[in-house]
Symmetry: C2
Subunit: 147 residues, 2 copies
């Protein structure tokens, strides 16, 4: 096991800091794939360490698991991201960060205008009517910013 092409779920967990339960969850969601040992235990490739790293970093950048899965599924043969893949993906992440910053700056401007006003009128308030990119659809948390 020390020098094998395959690693156990526990090894993958230790090498990435991701909980075993989370790894199973990622697999269930299609972000990872595994083989099974004779006794039905998961066997991952060493390269999956890198794949999990990619998932973690993409998450930090604000991508949802579903989006990450989409990116990963675009890679041929479900391969682990290469430098080229990473460049393409990271550029699109950058664009989304830019958009977020712009949105926040707009909100801040509106808030400035609003501070002295205090009308709190849904019809008149700039704040209320700006910033619609922040709305979520359907049930679930409407949540947006955090820091």
């Amino acid at each position: 096991m020390v020098e094998d092409r395959f690693i156990s779920i526990g090894d993958l967990s230790r090498r990435t800091g991701v909980a075993v339960s989370a790894i199973r969850f990622y697999e269930e969601k299609g972000l990872l794939t595994s083989l099974r040992s004779r006794g039905n235990q998961r066997r991952f490739l060493r390269s999956d360490i890198r794949r999990v790293s990619f998932i973690l970093i993409a998450q930090k950048l604000g991508l949802a698991l579903a989006e990450i899965e989409r990116e990963l599924s675009l890679l041929p043969q479900g391969r682990t991201p290469t430098l080229g893949d990473w460049e393409r993906i990271s550029r699109s992440m950058r664009a989304s960060i830019d958009a977020n910053i712009a949105l926040l700056e707009l909100t801040r401007r509106k808030l400035e205008e609003c501070i002295g006003c205090g009308c709190l009128s849904l019809r008149k308030c700039q704040l209320y009517n700006a910033n619609d990119g922040a709305a979520a659809h359907g049930p679930g948390p409407r949540f947006v910013l955090k820091g």
Copy 2:
């Protein structure tokens, strides 16, 4: 009912655009209070329209309901926010927007450095180790940015 100090939950819903079920939910969470009619139906004050507006605007600014409840509970007698209250609250919102923008700018800088690198190493990647304000505690979505 046309000229009354009190309004029904349906009226409050129509005046604010908030669903009846959401209003009940806000009340349950302590953001609103109501009296009851003889037949056990909720009666809100007209000023609750303004109170709901406040909730909506604060949500747009990224406050969670629990935080909004905290702000509202600081007001004497559960009164509806005045201009002075609003100024105080909106300044603290501004600070949090500023912090979010700063965090995003930091992330963007790190990403720039990272694009040409592509190492995806959890030990070395700047991205992975920066930006820890973005982590959530406990179960639930870890998610942070959206737009």
